[in-house]
Amino acid sequence: TTDTPTDGPGEEGQTSPSGDWFDAEEYETQLAQRDMEPEGPADEPWLQAIDPSYVDTSQYALEGEDREDPTVCFSNASVSNPWRVTGWITMQQQVEVLQESGDIGEFRVSDAADDDNQQISDIQTFVDSGDCDAIIISPSTTATLTPAVEAACESGAPVIVFDRGVNTDCHVTFIHPIGGYAYGADAAEFLVEELEPGSRVLALRILPGVDVLEHRWAAAQQVFGESDLEVIGHEFTEGDGATIKDLVTQHLQRGDVDGIWMDAGDGAVAGLEAFEDAGQPYPVISGEDELSFMRKWQEEDLTALAPVYSNFQWRTPVLAASMILDGEEVPEEWVLPQEPITEDELDDYLERNADMPSLHYAKFGGEDLPGFPEAWQDR
């Protein structure tokens, strides 16, 4: 026997392996998507879709007894950062609702702890077990998970991919917010707008080589390249506050830093503290909708923006699974809205999340779930 996916790795997708991370077409598309009005219920952004083209899923519809308590399997890349933890809680809450209503039966989960090979095995195990009526995959890396996702598709169960993509379109739907280019551009454009020409901007990145993060930086480079800002450096921090503070402190020793661009909000506060400790004025900064950063922003009245990589997307896949098993049509590529939080909205979001822990994400989108707010508070 062989478990090899029959067709080779797909040609299209967000990235060609080994290619440069900047894809002009995709970049333009994402920038345009920012301004499009999404379809779907306005108060349920996780069900909205931007410019969707629907696919028929009747082939996956389960009838009668089969439809009762179907098994949904979820292969998670990891819960190794606060963003994923928040999303994972949201997803579990959503699953409870669906289980209550009988739309989903068993919810089987495997967590690959950021190990691609592990996740391939996890998916393989789901496929081999033959129990899964739908398979949800949050791939840990785009290119490497492609063969496994293809194998999952071949099992016949509907496959739902979310967050990061894969280089194939065999899945029924691929759910994601607009994307990294939009995120990076939002942040960079904000800095360009708020800073004087010639200002010095420091970029703080988490890791190299992760597509979502590389897209953000590629877009930012594009935007900065067309501006008059001076990018004095980009550093990898692994999201560690101490490293961030070290690095920023060192840059401050060598000259002014007027703006900070970050590819994720982790450790933004530590970066800002470096300015405090050095007795320098705060920079213009783009962080993320992580509450620690937003609270700091409010307290210190910063000039800041919180770009958002919509955390509420974690609700969508299970809902989609339920829809697919009902045979309802879903968007082929389910692009969720992704809007940065601006100064005007700051107070509102902080109020709504007043009791949430500091590493919680403002746009987590779970306020209407029955577990709110305890589930997110006592993790």
């Binding site: 090899t4 996916p5 790795p9 080994s18 090979n117 077990s129 080589g209 990898f236």
Partner: protein, 346 residues
């Protein structure tokens, strides 16, 4: 001899016990540990770590250590995928490139350790950093493409046995033969046991150590090939998966003495299987991923403590005057046979 066998035997007993316990726990939850899916999963998990751990065994036998294996894996997967460039005709080119590149890294490690006298811990840690720097700078993410035929390596299976596992097992057998039947292999035990004694006995102590480092890197390269074949591309980020420490844990779990000179590949394979079994069992039981780490840490410690305990017991000589006494507090190892010949002269 008997001790080596004994320890290896114990490792397999431990493996059987863990399998049985896992199966029982799964059964209690109404699940079957030995389904095709789970068995394939278990064996597949083992093959990747297995390659790395076999090589690691060789260096540890020589009283060295290789912390660069994860980075070599990552680099090898990229080298393989870029060399193959998606073309079937270039598969062997890719394999050869990996063997050469990995071999050279191993050679560098070995030369730094033997010629420059740098501690292996630091050498291989430093080498890992160097490779990481290269990978991060040169490649921004996955690179290259592996032809579909090569993916067969990662996905084909014969019955429940994945091809990759069969290859790993074959490499293990080769390693066992190598350790028993070649001078270099035999001398690895000597160098690990006592490098000075080996030297004084006319063993060129550098050679086994060099060979071990080269072979260790090459097996890490094989693991990189497996990665490439399973991912369909080369992945730079594999280095963060912690294979270096996990392989050391597998080797020690397999009964090989961390300070060299004792142990073997047979035990290591069992050690790898134990770790894979744990993972599979945890998966089947749906254990929280963080709790997995807790359990894994605790189980590895407990298992190694068990071996250590047993070795202490085995080392004790049968008493001349048996008495209902406890194990003495501080007893240097004593020969088991000494009592029989006691009083007599050679």
């Amino acid at each position: 001899m008997s001790l080596r066998l004994g320890t290896t035997g114990l490792v397999y007993v431990a493996l059987a016990a863990i399998l049985a316990a896992g199966a029982a726990l799964a059964a209690a939850r109404g699940q079957d540990l030995f389904t095709t899916a789970n068995t394939v999963d278990l064996l597949t998990r083992s093959s990747l770590l297995g390659f790395v751990a076999i090589g690691q065994t060789l260096v540890i036998l020589c009283r060295s250590l290789d912390l660069s294996v994860g980075y070599v894996m990552a680099l090898s997967s990229v080298v393989a995928a870029t060399a193959m460039a998606g073309q079937t005709s270039r598969i062997w080119l890719g394999v050869a490139a990996v063997v050469v590149v990995a071999g050279l890294i191993g050679l560098a490690n070995g030369l730094i350790v033997t010629r420059l006298g740098v501690n292996a811990f630091i050498t291989t840690l430093g080498m890992g950093l160097i490779i990481k720097g290269y990978l991060d700078t040169r490649y921004k993410g996955p690179a290259g493409e592996v032809p579909a035929e090569f993916q067969l390596f990662g996905y084909t299976r014969i019955g429940v046995v994945p091809l990759s596992f069969a290859v790993m097992a074959a490499v293990a057998v080769l390693a066992v033969v190598f350790l028993r039947r070649t001078r270099t292999g035999v001398h690895m035990y000597a160098v690990g046991g006592d490098a000075e004694v080996a030297r004084m006995s006319g063993v060129r102590a550098d050679r086994p150590l060099l060979a071990a480092h080269v072979l260790c890197s090459v097996t890490a390269g094989l693991a990189g090939l497996l990665i490439a074949s399973r991912f369909g591309t080369g992945s730079t980020l594999v280095y963060s998966s912690g294979y270096e420490l996990e392989s050391i844990a597998a080797v020690v779990l397999g009964g090989t003495y961390l300070l060299g000179g004792r142990g073997g590949v047979g035990g290591t394979v069992a050690g790898v299987l134990i770790l894979a079994t744990l993972d599979t069992v945890f998966n089947v039981l749906g254990v929280d991923p963080f709790f997995k780490d807790v359990l894994r840490g605790a189980i590895v410690i407990a298992a190694v403590a068990l071996y250590a305990r047993r070795q202490v017991d085995r080392a004790a000589t049968p008493p001349r005057f048996p008495a209902p006494s406890r194990v003495p507090l501080l007893r240097p190892p004593r020969p088991p046979e000494a009592a029989a010949r006691r009083g007599g002269r050679p």
